[in-house]
């Protein structure tokens, strides 16, 4: 299990994006001699997440369909979910988790079609957070909705409450979890907006995968920053949000559905 995407905190601190605590205790690498370096083990402390940011995505549903398969595969590889992570080794389509999925929509009257990826919509008013008895289902200050699996009791009420079917229950033992994404039987999970990458100043894995394929079909960024790509795009195009009638203010916007 090689972590290509995992970066060491010392080398990947994007200070411009994050506020440093503890007087900028960034790690120093002192070269004493060729091949001999002394490194301070105290890494930079970053955070906390604040409401100054509101992370969001803009998804262009008119983009070619195969891109969404790419996004799904990137998510699986990054976060370590899918049938191959079942300890049993067996695929169980009805119970295997899906953090992001390709959804096809067709208007039966006109025949118009669209295909789009659906993942946790990171609502500003998330019903899953409201209903959770223990507070395991939570929203970070910067709008990222997460499951705190340390206190999730597996009651599944959040799954009942989510209008987007974006949560999965881990039905069986899993293996080879990523160090940044522990997963375990009996708890609920969903898209984390790649919070571990976002905190390190990177884009979510699905966005990066599309970028690497030369596509901008998903734009990720800070909706609170008027100069961010996503804010400009959202200001330019009229965007849609799934079940906008519920007024949950999802952080994930779409266009061209």
């Amino acid at each position: 299990m090689n972590e290509k995407t995992m970066s060491t905190p010392e080398t990947d601190v994007d200070t411009s994006r994050r506020n440093l605590l503890k007087g900028g205790a960034a790690a120093a690498v002192v070269t004493l001699a060729p091949g001999v370096t002394l490194r301070t083990v105290e890494a930079a402390v970053t955070g906390p997440a604040t409401s100054a940011q509101r992370w969001g995505m803009l998804i262009d549903a008119t983009a070619p369909e195969h891109l969404w398969d790419l996004a799904v595969e990137a998510c699986k590889a990054e976060q370590g979910w899918g049938p191959e992570y079942n300890t049993s080794g067996k695929a169980n389509p009805l119970t295997d988790p899906q953090w992001i999925r390709k959804v096809s929509v067709k208007d039966p009257k006109t025949g118009a079609k669209a295909t789009l990826p659906v993942m946790c919509q990171h609502c500003a008013k998330p019903p899953c957070v409201d209903v959770c008895p223990t507070g395991a289902s939570m929203k970070r200050a910067d709008g990222i909705v997460l499951v705190d699996k340390h206190i999730c009791i597996g009651c599944r009420y959040c799954m009942m409450a989510c209008p987007y079917s974006c949560r999965s229950f881990v039905h069986e033992d899993v293996k080879n979890q990523r160090p940044h994404m522990p997963r375990g039987k009996g708890t609920v999970e969903s898209c984390t907006l790649c919070v571990h990458r976002v905190d390190a100043g990177q884009k979510p894995a699905c966005v990066e995968a599309l970028n690497n394929a030369g596509s901008n079909a998903i734009i990720f960024g800070d909706l609170n920053d008027p100069n961010s790509d996503i804010s400009r795009a959202v200001a330019k195009h009229v965007t849609q949000r799934i079940r906008a009638d519920l007024d949950l203010e999802p952080g994930v916007h779409y266009r061209g559905i």
Partner: protein, 407 residues
């Protein structure tokens, strides 16, 4: 109020019948624990639940028992709160039945959690915006209040004050059932649930299910011990049960009529009422027919409504109908796909836009039956070691002024 001259006495509980009852209930409980072991060891993959139908058969049994628990307290409430002294002799058993049913229901609910080992977290971390968290407080409070109520009824010095706590218990149980109904009523995402009527519907259901169970327990306890059980008290409970069944039917009609009026809910209503297969069958045949109209007919037909057997059969039917109603509400409501894009045809590898299949696994049924067995076990042991049951419920005892033609 006339002085209470009722004599309460523990049952003998020595015969082979009693021990075989305890034995069989014990077997069912052990089977349930074995089911839980499997569900926790292998994960919920061995159950019928999926990522779409997340609450399955255990929840059907659990919510049924929890709802029935608050209804079983009715008999005590009627005597304490509404001053109907005829019911006074049954108040102790009513309180114990209520606690036993709640314990059975909660046992199922807790053991069906993904992480039942973390129960302590449910007790120590509260999200007060969650109706579920409120229910945890309501359920725990129910035990405390009903226990205090029972103690005050059984402790002579406290008996004069028992009506005050009886009123409190009555209010608490109304809030509790409102909370249970609101678990479903507060789900904005689900067209099958999202309605305020869930709370009063659940209260009506609690009255009916609790009374049906209580009538059966009284019947079994008095026939089994050979203590006299007169028609007066039985017919009074029969009348109440009839009213409660009618109330459930009424709220069910209102629930569906309201939803039929909203165009956005038409599809899910059509699913439950017309083309939902097993759910439509359970709704019309089992819930409305076998569990509603038929018992009503039995209770108010002089030929059957005046016999102990007729009333008992009607009670059994109400319980069966109640379980069916829970199944339709809980599982039928989830089987219908979420409307992510209303008016559109939706498909995906995650089963968006299609009816979600659900088949109960034997583990889930075993766990559900185990909850019922635990409730009955508590009652059976309770009546043996505590003076809960009056030595007589004969007509003369219940109502000294009773005239034979009254019933």
């Amino acid at each position: 109020m006339a002085a209470d001259t009722t004599v309460y006495k523990e049952i003998e509980g020595k015969g082979g019948d009693y021990y075989s009852l305890i034995g069989w209930l014990g077997v069912v409980v052990i089977a349930a624990l074995y089911a839980v072991y499997n569900m926790e060891h292998y994960g919920h993959v061995v159950t019928g639940m999926t990522n779409a139908v997340v609450w399955g058969t255990p929840h059907v049994f659990a919510v049924f028992l929890i709802v029935a628990a608050s209804g079983a307290l009715n008999v005590a409430s009627i005597s304490s709160v509404f001053g109907k002294h005829h019911y006074k002799p049954l108040a102790r058993l009513s309180a114990v039945t209520a606690m036993a049913l709640l314990a059975g229901g909660l046992m199922i609910l807790v053991l069906d959690l993904g992480r039942p080992d973390r129960l302590i977290i449910a007790m120590t971390y509260y999200n007060f915006k969650s109706i579920f968290a409120w229910n945890i407080i309501l359920y725990n409070g129910f035990f405390v209040i009903v226990l205090a109520y029972l103690w005050m009824m059984m402790e002579k010095r406290m008996t004069p004050h028992s009506s005050k706590i009886g009123l409190f218990a009555f209010l608490w149980r109304l809030i509790l059932t409102t909370g249970t109904g609101s678990i479903f009523g507060f789900l904005v995402a689900r067209p099958g649930y999202d309605a305020a009527i869930m709370a009063p519907l659940f209260i009506a259901m609690s009255f009916a299910f609790g009374m049906a169970i209580f009538i059966l327990i009284i019947n079994v306890a008095y026939r089994g011990t050979g203590r006299p059980l007169g028609d007066v008290i039985l017919f009074k409970m029969r009348n109440l049960l009839g009213v409660f069944i009618a109330a459930v039917l009424y709220f069910t009609v209102v629930q569906h009529l309201t939803n039929l009026y909203a165009a956005e809910h038409l599809d899910v209503q059509a699913f439950i009422l017309m083309d939902g297969g097993i759910y439509t069958f359970l709704f019309w045949v089992v819930q409305v027919g076998i569990g509603g109209l038929f018992p009503l007919a039995l209770l108010f037909n002089p030929a059957t409504g005046r016999t102990c057997q007729g009333i008992a059969v009607a009670s059994v039917l109400v319980i069966i109908g109640g379980l069916a109603q829970m199944y339709v509400i809980i599982i039928g409501g989830q089987a219908f796909p979420l409307l992510m894009f209303p008016g559109m045809e939706v498909s995906s590898s995650f089963f968006d836009g299609v009816l979600h299949p659900y088949t109960p696994s034997h583990w889930e049924v075993m766990l559900g039956l185990g909850g019922i067995a635990v409730a009955l076990l508590i009652i059976a042991v309770g009546v043996k070691y505590l003076p809960l049951l009056p030595t007589s419920l004969s007509d003369a005892k219940i109502d000294p002024h009773h005239k034979a033609e009254e019933a």
